[in-house]
């Protein structure tokens, strides 16, 4: 069979809802696309551990200290699951790590921003995890089977995180003026990055990942679902949105495209977000400091006399 024939067969197979395993034949484009997508997801879980980890020391109760540690542990656990399946597509963990710290691969925009206080934990846990869950649930139908298996577990844990974040939000919302101000302050800073999180409008004709059914829904479709689901909940708690302010139209919560300032997202795409350099440097220096540990893990243990 020629490459062209195989490619056509593969296209039909995937187009009809067929699932692909790591050991199956796949077009180079597909392998590269899936790898890049999963690698970015893995990077995002790994980098996403940082902002919340920054708040673990400040947790206001023993229960929250443990639950937030467990949540960050889950994020690291997700990166473990994702890096493992990305490795199986042919790129070593070390190369992925080096590409990340050297800015050759990307991670989600929201993890390029600083956290300031406990209000950030509420917004990240509830709204950013809520946004992530919308996008990840849409990927459960992805054509790449190892990814969907891992996502099944990730989504289950994200559901829990969402509950965790919502409970923390409700604690702040029903608390003192100071606590309410914490949430509002965090929302003011995070709202635009959350809107950006779904990405600009998808170009259906050009998006290879949509064509290969690695992704199954467009960015604007996912953003719309998120707005409908979360905007009323935030308003119900008496908080308000900064620009771009959502408004009701035809039974849906929507944004005016012109209200969205895309410049910060463009900067992040060039790895020039507010925390990008510092966090990558933190990762890079830790990685270097651990060279001796990796060596100890790599070599078979030998009994010294």
């Amino acid at each position: 069979m020629t490459y062209e024939q195989r490619l056509t067969d593969f296209r039909h197979y995937v187009g009809a809802g067929g699932k692909v395993e790591a050991t199956d034949w796949m077009p180079d484009d597909y392998r590269a696309g899936v790898l890049k997508f999963i690698e970015m997801h893995a990077n995002s879980e790994m980098m996403g551990a940082i902002p919340e980890r920054e708040q673990i020391p400040h947790a206001p109760s023993l229960q929250r200290k443990m639950s937030l540690t467990a949540k960050v542990q889950d994020e690291v656990g997700h990166s473990q699951l994702l890096y493992r399946i990305a490795e199986d597509l042919g790129k070593s963990r070390e190369t992925m790590y080096l590409d990340l710290v050297n800015g050759r691969s990307k991670f989600h925009n929201v993890f390029h921003y600083p956290t300031r206080h406990w209000g950030d934990v509420a917004v990240i846990g509830w709204l950013i995890d809520g946004a992530a869950l919308v996008t990840q649930a849409a990927l459960l139908e992805s054509s790449y089977a190892p990814y969907t298996r891992v996502l099944k577990r990730i989504c289950a844990e994200e559901q829990l995180h969402l509950r965790h974040g919502e409970v923390i939000t409700l604690e702040l919302a029903s608390g003192t003026d100071n606590q309410r101000a914490m949430f509002q302050d965090a929302l003011d800073r995070w709202w635009l990055p959350i809107v950006h999180f779904f990405g600009p409008r998808s170009n259906v004709d050009k998006d290879l990942l949509l064509r290969w059914k690695v992704k199954t829904r467009t960015n604007e479709d996912l953003r719309a679902e998120f707005l409908d689901r979360y905007v009323p909940k935030v308003l119900e708690l008496g908080f308000s949105f900064p620009a771009p302010v959502p408004f009701e139209s035809g039974g849906h919560w929507v944004l005016r495209e012109d209200d969205i300032d895309w410049a910060p997202l463009d900067a992040i795409k060039r790895n020039q977000g507010p925390e990008t350099a510092r966090r990558l440097e933190l990762r890079r220096s830790t990685y270097e400091q651990h060279a001796w540990v990796r060596q100890a893990l790599a070599e078979p243990a030998t009994q010294v006399a």
Binding site: G77, Q80, L81, R84, E87, L297, A298, A301
Partner: protein, 96 residues
């Protein structure tokens, strides 16, 4: 380091199920890491880890399609049991 395949079982009535992989320097550490990566919410009580290179796999969907009718291997091939039982009863009634 090696890739280890991880299997877990949640009770005596369940079979072991594959649940993921870990990268580890030896089987003992693989076990320890797998315990935290795959059992930290008590998703199981028993754990197996085995080096991926020790797994032998087979898959060929085409070979699972038999050339001849092998429906006798399945319960649905015996759905006429009701009818046959009825016939047999009738036959027994004629013996009298």
């Amino acid at each position: 380091m090696d890739v280890y395949e991880v299997f877990r079982r949640s009770g005596h009535k369940q079979p072991f199920e594959h649940c993921g992989t870990v990268t580890a320097p030896d089987s003992e550490m693989a076990m320890l890491m797998a315990k935290e990566c795959y059992l930290r919410r008590k998703e199981g009580q028993y754990l197996w880890v085995t080096r991926r290179s020790e797994i032998h796999s087979w898959s060929d969907e085409a070979l699972l399609e038999p050339a001849a009718d092998k429906s006798y291997r399945f319960a649905h091939a015996y759905r006429d049991v009701v009818q046959k039982r009825e016939l047999a009863r009738r036959r027994a009634g004629q013996l009298g």
